[in-house]
Symmetry: C2
Subunit: 244 residues, 2 copies
């Protein structure tokens, strides 16, 4: 008799070993970073050699990605000292394009990201609240919150919101957490762009953001978690019906 593989596990555990081609992955990462406002309109990307090192690809490959971004109009490049690549991607508002053209796989991934988010982001907030935060860190968090609340146009608000959530993740000081939140925010961003959503209740959302920040700064993990959970639940409720 030979042993059986554990029922059901193999299918779930063995995953595609890498997304796609390296240069596509670079395009994806950089475009995501720009869309989420990590590199907002007008900011300048690091030099090619540095970016290549950070993404652990050769400069040749990174340059292919850059060429694609340039061609797509997301960035512009100038040569010479003091030159570099600046972001020209303007934050987009939610468009009226129907979500009908979305593939079932993507739709499933979106729904998954909502479930995952409800675990990961409250966890990140709680973790951040449980750590002793440096003064600069506290200031950074407060600044990220202010950016969200003062953003006027919806597109700017969207980017500031992503940055806010990413900032909390970085404060948790856990690389895996940052990666998870980045992934989730990217999916969220896609959903919000693809869905002709009623102007979300920004005031409501901002109150929840503020509550999360208060709890983190006060060092109250459970409270931070609960506040973020509520925030995720409200957002998810809004979206779940529209993509289902």
């Amino acid at each position: 008799m030979t042993a059986d593989p554990a029922a059901g596990l193999p299918e779930a555990v063995l995953r595609p070993v890498r997304g796609h081609h390296a240069f596509e992955a670079c395009v994806e990462q950089l475009a995501t970073a720009m869309r989420l406002g990590v590199y907002p309109l007008g900011s300048v990307l690091p030099p090619e050699r540095e970016l290549a090192a950070r993404l652990q690809v050769s400069r040749a490959t990174l340059r292919e990605a850059m060429a694609a971004l340039r061609q797509a109009g997301l960035v512009e490049t100038t040569r010479g000292r003091g030159g570099g690549t600046v972001v020209t991607l303007k934050p987009r508002s939610p468009s009226a394009r129907a979500a009908a053209r979305v593939s079932p796989e993507r739709r499933a991934d979106w729904l998954d990201s909502l479930d995952f988010r409800r675990v990961i982001e409250p966890g990140a907030a709680a973790l951040a609240a449980s750590l002793p935060l440096s003064e600069p860190a506290r200031a950074q968090l407060q600044l990220a919150l202010d950016d969200v609340t003062t953003a006027r146009r919806p597109a700017d608000h969207r980017q500031a919101d992503s940055r806010f959530h990413l900032t909390i993740a970085t404060l948790s000081a856990s690389p895996r957490m940052v990666e998870a939140v980045t992934s989730v925010q990217s999916a969220l961003h896609e959903m919000l762009l693809a869905i002709p959503v009623l102007e979300t209740n920004i005031a409501h959302s901002d109150r929840q953001h503020a509550a999360v920040v208060r709890a983190i700064l006060a060092g109250r993990p459970e409270r931070a978690r609960a506040a973020m959970e509520e925030h995720c639940d409200d957002t998810a409720a809004l979206l779940r019906g529209l993509v289902g």
Copy 2:
């Protein structure tokens, strides 16, 4: 004036674009699956073509990985119909090898995985508890629990434990969750092997496992989360000192 990239975020968000060489990633995934008991000793792996499709690599690349596993003595292969690749890797007991030879990066990753685990596994348990589970799913969970409690040798217990946690993740029905738990369990497994740990308190651990299962089967998300959190905290407390 040009916009600045959001302070601190770029460094955290831009991550290496892939784990380099596809065949190494395949080796890693397969070896992990075997070590964690997803494919226990004596089980037979899926045919090469199927594995290649699942990992989304070419068969040539997958075969390179297989050759490495074969050479390392983890698997054996026979040809012809009914042939295939069987697992020959015997589960290892925690060895007395000191953890001193571990690189600082790995050590940091280990500590990170403990923080991350405290968020992800309780979240997975809660999510699973919040879903209506099919009868086979309930049976699978119960079976996984029984495997842990009845395992005699420490090495078998270790594998059954990994399988138990992975099973909960799959019941949460979230691919991202499964991936996160797999990553965390892999790190945990490394730590437990590298550290000459006192025989952990298996009875205590089993009681906690049982509590988690009860909560999940009863459909009590908060209780499941709390039980799993306690379990993670206890394990982490044991490990944190030894690797720090």
